[in-house]
């Protein structure tokens, strides 16, 4: 088995170089302050995102630019694959599933809105990836399908077929895709954890830790939705959650679901591991949604701290790859958020609170 140095020395040097090119907070600050979408895009002219400005000035279509960003993000993963040791390729493939799943969800949403909800032509149809990410799924057929059987039929041989078959009746009867989409997410994380299990112990621990924080974020997101929008009871919520979280055990989630004083519970798990985050907890929140949003923010901070820990720690682990992907994803997310906020003329203060 190759040593850590041999496996990660090259990719570590390469990715550290790329990390240095990630947009700084100062650029995001300038983006948030830009007077219009055009001005914001102009700031990106001298960065790696110059393409966005070119697309927008020639089409006026921000979504098309976003689609290009998505393609670039996928390319990033594919590109990294060629520089990593073969043991890590399977893990990166498992990470690539997130894009395929998201694209599949978008295609199914278009079909669902048209066929089940009887909504007129969906403009999102033009912003779906038709190129394969991992499996050759004919997205055209899904979009134009008349029944879930057709959708499942074109997904034969992929992990999505059984999920679509299992939940198609439920989503039709409930009029919501949530269950099916949640099942896709469950598959994504279980597949990721299974791929991580094949890594060396040191790498495995890093992956579990970072993926665990991500699962926590996902679970919190669901907790907010299930409690506030679906009014789901605790047992049902717990059954829906993805196992493998890092900070939020089922017990903590139960407490968060029920508690009025959320700060007290959060203090317990934050103060030991992340003393720097206790300042965030000082902000008292009254309603349950704000409480959960606060946790969401804390988990984001935990993720940031974990990434910085990796970057400052031992360099020759899979952590550098994960850290890079996370930083890059955050960068893209911030750009998307700011540009869309500019498109809808949101105030600078609001934008700053969003990023």
């Amino acid at each position: 088995m190759a040593g850590a140095l041999k496996k990660y020395a090259f990719i570590n040097a390469k990715l550290r170089g790329r990390i240095s090119k990630i947009l700084s907070d100062e650029v995001f600050d300038r983006l948030a302050k830009a007077s219009s979408l055009d001005s914001a895009l102009d700031i990106l002219r001298d960065t790696n995102f110059a393409q966005l400005q070119e697309i927008y000035s020639s089409t006026g279509d921000l979504k098309k630019g976003e689609l290009e960003l998505l393609k670039k993000e996928i390319e990033l993963y594919v590109d990294i694959k060629q520089y990593v040791y073969k043991g890590s390729i399977e893990f990166i493939n498992a990470l690539l599933y997130q894009f395929e799943i998201e694209n599949l969800k978008n295609a199914i949403r278009v079909f669902f809105n048209r066929k089940i909800r009887n909504r007129s032509s969906d403009p999102n149809i033009h912003y779906i990836l038709y190129e394969p990410v991992i499996h050759k799924i004919p997205i055209d057929i899904i979009i134009n399908a008349n029944h879930f059987d057709e959708v499942a039929g074109v997904c034969i041989g992929t992990p999505y077929e059984p999920i679509i078959k299992k939940y198609s009746e439920t989503v039709v009867s409930q009029g919501s895709l949530f269950r099916m989409e949640a099942a896709f997410d469950h598959f994504y994380y279980s597949n990721l954890i299974a791929a991580a299990a094949k890594l060396d112990k040191k790498d495995r621990d890093i992956v579990y830790r970072l993926t665990g924080v991500e699962i926590d974020l996902q679970n919190i997101d669901w907790l907010i939705r299930l409690k506030n929008f679906y009014n789901m009871p605790l047992d049902a919520v717990l059954a829906m959650l993805i196992p493998g979280g890092f900070t939020l055990s089922q017990a903590v989630i139960s407490e968060l679901y029920k508690a009025q004083n959320v700060s007290g519970i959060l203090q317990n798990f934050v103060k030991g591991k992340y003393p720097g985050l206790t300042a965030l907890l000082s902000s008292q929140t009254a309603d349950s949604q704000s409480r959960l949003l606060l946790i969401d923010r804390i988990l984001e901070e935990i993720m940031k701290q974990e990434v910085h820990r990796i970057l400052a720690g031992e360099p020759f682990t899979i952590g550098i790859i994960l850290a890079y992907f996370i930083l890059k994803r955050n960068e893209l997310k911030k750009i998307r958020t700011i540009l869309n906020a500019k498109k809808y003329n949101l105030q600078q203060q609001r934008i700053e609170s969003m990023i």
């Binding site: 007077s35 219009s36 001005s39 102009d42 089409t59 006026g60 032509s121």
Partner: protein
């Protein structure tokens, strides 16, 4: 040139009514790096208030940035204002300028809106084209490629009066209505749409009075042209998009003169306000302070007095004096323009502290000597010079690519160095066209040197680089002592790793090593000499920690365990000195290593070229030279930089200084 520019601090009090004139003069002179007067720890100063500007600085900066953004879209980067712009400055009408920018933004947004709607049409047509591409048209005489065609194709006619509405309604969906001509008051159409939209399409058709008909035989050829029709429509829409894109540019270009004038006025006002944010005011006076080069003192003094008709009070403080505000003195490089590329290399590492040595003038010969030794070839050097000149000419006119301009100059310098060393070593594109002036580098590497030089084998080349490295390290140590003396850090002068004791050990080490080499590695100098050269300074270094303890005595008092601590720190320091100096010296052998690799590569290409003949041989040599210039040129450049930074700079240069950045019309 050896040291950074001498600075002086100005403390000025002027009358409030003269403040505007003085600000304008200070901006025009552009030599003062202002300090915030609030930093003065004085009760009286605490009672002073800030100067209130008529318009908020944030508003002015915001407007200026908006105009910059607009001008950027047509590829214009506004030039720094001139003194005449300062004199012609007009009060900023924020609302008026905002209104103008909002108007431009509004017009641009309406064009963008139009672009978006055309883009939607393009996307819909592309949707159909993709289907046609994938699955064919599905007409009776054109077989489908697969069972999955999502296209619905029908022919029919509608009353002429409904055509406009019909075509307008179709625009909301991915569809293509091809007009097949008119008959009486009926228009014939071939309609291609998506099956998934059949419900909405049927609604549109029924509203338009559509009647299905068989496609007349004479119009059957139209089907073959559907793909062309889609492509033509897409082409027309794309052309319209381009026109709209040009309209955005024209919109801004039409206002270019006005926008540039406003930008200049905003910029001048912004800079003036930036100066005034550093002012403090009492009821009648204004106070400010800042650093400037000593050489500018008299001229500025005169200008201030003239600007306020001698109604001012000026105080000048030297760095280190008790009266100064903020004892971190900014640093201004003091080098001729020719050294700009090397100044760039130094500032990339850090800014020297005030009063310490600026290594720029020494980096030039050091860097070029190392580069030349590693990349010694007159022909390839000439290529670098040409590439550098081309780069320099290209980037000269682009102010925002100043860094590339300097880099081009660096390449020119490196090329010159390669030419000089190429002549010394007799290498011209890897060939010994003329005899080597110093020694035959390629001959030594290939094992059959020509000429009678004292340098005969690779070991001699390695020795040259070692001597070179030792000389560089000694220069670094000497600079360190000069810096320590100038900054009056007397104990560091002795106890620092690069201090007198460290250098003593290093010199001793070199003597001992050369003594051993002279005696075939079998004999050491006498014990007394070894003790005097390495042992005594090592023992003297032991005093460092106890001295520090006594000098920075804490309330804790002495603890016997501290002796163990002193001992450990001493041992670690000794280890660092011994291994550090050894590694630093040996590191210079890479210069020989890369030089040898360079020669070996050229020898290899000539050998490969020798195996062929004619044009192939020429191609191999040309490609070989290109590869070597790119690969070895980069490698030599990086290694020379690395050696300058880590083996030379670390001896004396901390790079923790603060660059002198006065507010001037040219400020970034």
């Amino acid at each position: 040139m050896m040291f950074t520019t001498e600075m002086i601090q100005l403390f000025a009090v002027v009358l409030g009514r003269d403040a505007e004139r003085v600000s304008e003069m200070l901006l025009s002179e552009g030599v003062v790096q202002f300090l915030n007067i609030a930093e003065i720890d004085n009760e009286e100063m605490a009672n002073l208030s800030s100067v209130q500007s008529q318009v908020s600085l944030v508003d002015i900066s915001g407007l200026r940035e908006r105009i910059e953004g607009l001008l950027h879209t047509i590829g214009i980067i506004p030039k720094a204002p001139k003194e005449t712009d300062l004199n012609a400055r007009a009060p900023v009408a924020v609302e008026k300028e905002k209104k103008l920018l909002d108007k431009i933004d509004g017009e641009r947004e309406s064009i963008r809106e139009r672009q978006r709607s055309i883009q939607q049409e393009i996307l819909k047509l592309e949707d159909i084209r993709r289907q046609v591409d994938l699955y064919g048209l599905g007409l009776s005489d054109v077989p489908l490629k697969t069972k999955h065609s999502f296209l619905q194709i029908q022919t029919g006619r509608i009353p002429l009066s409904n055509t406009v509405k019909f075509e307008e309604n179709l625009r909301a969906l991915p569809s293509l209505g091809i007009s097949l001509g008119q008959e009486d008051d009926l228009a014939h159409y071939l309609l291609i749409s998506m099956k998934r939209d059949s419900e909405q399409i049927n609604k549109i058709l029924s509203q338009s009075g559509w009647t299905n008909i068989e496609l007349p035989n004479e119009l059957k050829s139209v089907k073959e042209d559907v793909f062309k029709e889609i492509t033509a429509k897409l082409g027309a829409l794309t052309e319209e998009q381009k026109k709209l894109e040009r309209r955005v540019s024209d919109l801004i270009r039409n206002q270019e003169k006005q926008l540039t004038d406003i930008w200049v006025n905003l910029r001048v006002t912004e800079l003036l306000y930036k100066i005034q944010t550093n002012f403090k005011t009492s009821s009648r006076t204004v106070i400010f302070t800042g650093w400037l080069p000593l050489s500018k003192k008299d001229a500025l003094s005169e200008k201030i007095q003239s600007a306020c008709g001698d109604r001012c009070y000026l105080e000048w403080h030297n760095p280190g004096g008790q009266e100064i505000v903020d004892d971190e003195v900014p640093v201004q490089f003091n080098n001729p323009k020719v050294l700009a590329p090397f100044e760039m290399l130094v500032s990339n590492f850090g800014i020297p502290q005030y009063k310490t040595i600026d290594p720029t003038p020494f980096v030039m010969p050091l860097y070029l000597a190392m580069f030349g030794l590693m990349f010694a070839d007159a022909g390839q050097g000439l290529v670098l010079v040409i590439a550098g000149i081309l780069g320099m000419k290209h980037f000269k006119t682009i102010p925002e690519k100043k860094g590339y301009f300097k880099l081009s100059w660096l390449i020119i310098w490196c090329g010159v160095s390669s030419i000089v060393f190429g002549i010394l070593f007799g290498s011209y594109f890897g060939k010994a066209i003329f005899e080597a002036v110093w020694f035959d580098f390629h001959g030594i590497v290939s094992g059959h040197p020509e000429g009678n030089s004292a340098v005969k084998d690779i070991l001699d080349i390695l020795a040259i680089t070692l001597y070179f490295g030792i000389a560089v390290i000694f220069v670094g140590l000497l600079f360190n002592w000069i810096n320590l003396i100038r900054t009056r850090r007397w104990m560091d002068l002795f106890f620092d790793k690069g201090g007198v004791f460290g250098a003593w050990i290093y010199t001793g080490g070199i003597y001992i090593a050369s003594y051993m080499v002279d005696n075939n590695y079998k004999e050491l100098p006498s014990g007394f000499i070894v003790f005097m050269l390495a042992g005594l300074p090592a023992l003297l270094l032991f005093l460092k920690e106890p001295y520090h303890y006594l000098h920075h005595k804490t309330e804790k008092g002495f603890n016997p365990l501290m002796i163990l601590n002193f001992l450990m720190q001493w041992l670690v320091e000794l280890l660092e000195i011994f291994t550090g100096y050894l590694a630093n010296t040996l590191s210079f052998m890479r210069v020989a290593g890369i030089g040898i690799a360079h020669a070996s590569l050229m020898i290899s290409f000539y050998t490969i070229a020798g195996m062929t003949s004619g044009i192939y041989s020429v191609i191999i040599l040309v490609l070989g030279n290109i590869l070597v210039i790119c690969l070895e040129g980069l490698s030599a450049g990086v290694q020379a930089l690395r050696l300058s930074y880590y083996e030379f700079f670390t001896k004396f240069f901390h790079g923790t200084g603060k660059l002198y950045t006065p507010i001037s019309l040219n400020s970034d």
